[in-house]
């Protein structure tokens, strides 16, 4: 008998056995069902979080550096407090950096505040108003959808023009084209020259499209004089990003008068840090989930093992008959393994059926769907649980002495 024939035959036998013991089998599966529901939900949630995160983070661009006084992620409160005492980054420093750095493709100062924006009788109460120069559009995911971005002359000239995010465009101009229209931004009037391409939202929390971008010069004149500027830089090449960082670091240390052997009074942030932090948090969540899942599957597995021992004991005579007419050890082993795997597979499918509507609820908050790999995972895990917990009883059945087994009544 080939393995395939054994599994096929085992399936037929176990179906009959399961039908004969519906209630008992049903009750035993409970632990596995709970386990599989947890596996499925955990995997769906993690996958959803991951997906949301990657989508959000991609707008940052992996070749973009964000230089600020602060590091995005600080290890302690002390570190935060210390970085608060660092001197501000000035436009002059950015200007000098821009002239001296050679390993960069684009550089812009960057600052922002939140202000109400109005067109005629329509108002958006809180919009990100951002100041930057003409190179902003060459960095990260910033692209123009309609119209144009402002040029170098406009960036330094201080004329009141802006580009708007797609969110502002739909909010304030539901029916007409915003191009050439004048909007009121926090008490000043600015003309729209372009609309940015849609970027979506960040982790579902806030929209990246609810923004108005004005030339840096105008921003300092109209909204904020001595802002805490950030520098956004696109490096010359992803391969040499570390060289770029070294060069920038050297220049900035000189410009900001940092003595040798004293630590930087600025921080070079990049997307990678976000990913690393996210992965760390994700890892913790995943291992907690794994533990809970493992526990319920373990308890479920013990239940299956128990019921399989009962099943083997009850069918001792059947085992004797089968062995007498030529079933080998492996055939009997496969029969009971298939039965255990069958019970668990049933439990797994039940678990999936329960988890499915729950993932629909989760998908209200996260882009989570019950994907095919997760279904595969759940099925695989339940089969594995069945095989592992069914092994001992099946082994006992396989090793039975046919004479003793036949005598059993």
């Amino acid at each position: 008998m080939t393995l395939w024939q054994e599994i096929k035959e085992g399936t037929v036998i176990s179906f009959a056995a399961l039908r004969a013991n519906k209630l008992r089998s049903g009750l035993t599966t409970l632990g596995i069902v709970i386990g599989i529901v947890t596996v499925t939900l955990m995997a769906t949630a993690i996958q959803g979080l991951n997906g949301a995160f990657r989508k959000s983070i991609s707008s940052m661009g992996s070749d973009t550096l964000f230089i600020k006084r602060f590091s995005w992620f600080n290890d302690s409160r002390e570190a935060w407090l210390k970085s608060y005492r660092r001197p501000l980054i000035t436009l002059d420093q950015i200007e000098a950096l821009s002239r001296q750095a050679t390993l960069i493709k684009a550089i812009t100062p960057f600052s922002g505040c939140r202000l109400p924006v109005t067109y005629k009788n329509r108002t958006s109460r809180s919009v990100s108003v951002l100041g930057c120069n003409e190179q902003f559009v060459n960095i990260g995911g910033n692209t123009i959808a309609e119209g144009r971005f402002f040029n170098a002359a406009e960036a330094n000239g201080g004329r009141p023009i802006c580009t708007i995010g797609s969110g502002v465009a739909t909010n304030l101009f539901p029916n007409i084209s915003p191009l050439g229209k004048k909007i009121r931004v926090g008490g000043t009037t600015v003309e729209i020259v372009g609309i940015m391409a849609q970027q979506g939202n960040f982790l579902g929390a806030f929209s990246l499209d609810n923004q108005v971008i004005v030339p840096m010069r105008y921003y300092t004149l109209a909204f904020q004089h001595d802002a805490d500027y950030e520098i956004q830089i696109r490096v010359a090449s992803m391969e040499h990003i570390e060289d770029s960082k070294e060069e920038i670091r050297g220049i900035l240390r000189k410009l900001r008068h940092v003595p040798p052997s004293v630590e930087d009074n600025f921080a070079i942030n990049q997307q990678e840090m976000f990913i690393a932090t996210f992965n760390r948090v994700g890892g913790i969540i995943a291992s907690a989930g794994l533990f809970i899942t493992g526990l319920s599957l373990f308890v479920g597995g013990i239940g299956i093992m128990n019921i399989m021992f009962v099943s083997v004991a009850e069918r001792t005579k059947e085992i004797g008959i089968r062995k007498a007419i030529g079933a080998k050890r492996r055939t009997i082993l496969m029969q009971f393994l298939t039965e255990a795997a069958g019970i668990c597979l049933f439990a797994g499918l039940l678990g999936l059926a329960i988890a499915f509507p729950v993932t629909l609820v989760i998908s209200q908050f996260l882009p989570a769907t019950l994907s095919l790999p997760i279904v595969g995972l759940a099925v695989g895990v339940s089969l594995l649980t069945g095989i592992v917990s069914g092994f001992l009883p099946a082994w006992r059945a396989a090793r039975m002495n046919p004479v003793d087994a036949l005598r059993n009544d």
């Binding site: 004797g320 007419i325 080998k328 055939t331 004479v403």
Partner: protein
């Protein structure tokens, strides 16, 4: 060489400090085509011998050759294969799978020998028809009479064309008329060339065989042709 050759076969059961000698160094030789009855009082070792002959059990000492191969040195899986190929069992209490119908019960040995489904089904139907159950193939054991169940068991024993048909008290659970019918079937099978060994404690049943081996306390008390049989058949033929 004989089909079955037992040399100085012993089977001991160790129960705590006590050793039970179920068989004590017996020598038996059975040729192809023989019809042998094994008799003896209860506890004399009949079933023990039957289990050895059927390769369900291995001797504690001695040599057992079946069809020329040494069974006493085989492992579990080799024995299973041997049973599947060479031996057909008929038990006193039928030992059918209760949840399976007659057809599936008869097919089982063929499943274990790896015969493809269509062929084994055809073969099983053929044999069931042969034992007179062509119209009961989809009945489960509890939907059949004792005699019918035993016929299913016989069909199952025959389906693989084994060298030997072993029957342990095949009529023990049947009334005398049904028992007679089963014995007629055995007779017919023997005439077709099957080797039959049956255990019984009923003289009338044993008389069907051509040779009777009597056990007593694990030893062979006598081993001689069954006289009653030839007489019986001489009568039957005339």
């Amino acid at each position: 060489m004989a089909l079955l050759q037992l040399t100085k076969i012993s089977r001991r059961y160790v129960m705590g400090s006590e050793t039970i000698h179920a068989l004590r160094e017996i020598d038996v030789s059975i040729e192809r085509g023989e019809y042998v009855a094994i008799m003896g009082p209860s506890g004399s070792g009949k079933s023990t011998l039957m289990n050895l002959l059927g390769c369900l059990d291995t001797p504690s000492s001695g040599e057992f050759h079946l069809n020329g191969s040494d069974v006493s040195r085989m492992d579990d899986n080799q024995l299973a294969e041997l049973r599947n190929r060479e031996i057909g069992f008929v038990f006193q209490s039928f030992h059918l799978l209760p949840r399976s119908d007659a057809l599936h019960n008869v097919e089982l040995p063929l499943i274990y020998s790896g015969m493809p489904p269509a062929r084994r089904r055809q073969r099983a139907l053929e044999v069931l028809d042969h034992v007179g159950l062509g119209d009961r193939v989809h009945h489960k054991p509890n939907e059949m009479s004792g005699g019918q169940r035993q016929r299913v068991a016989i069909a199952r024993a025959l389906v693989n064309n084994p060298s030997i048909l072993l029957a342990d008290e095949p009529t023990g659970n049947l009334d005398s008329r049904t028992g007679d019918e089963i014995m007629v079937l055995f007779e017919e099978l023997w005439r077709k060339g099957n080797t039959i060994i049956l255990v019984t404690h009923e003289e009338v049943v044993a008389r069907h065989a051509r040779r009777i081996i009597r056990l007593h306390d694990g030893l062979i008390a006598s081993d001689e042709p069954s006289l009653g049989v030839s007489a019986l058949h001489a009568v039957g033929k005339s």
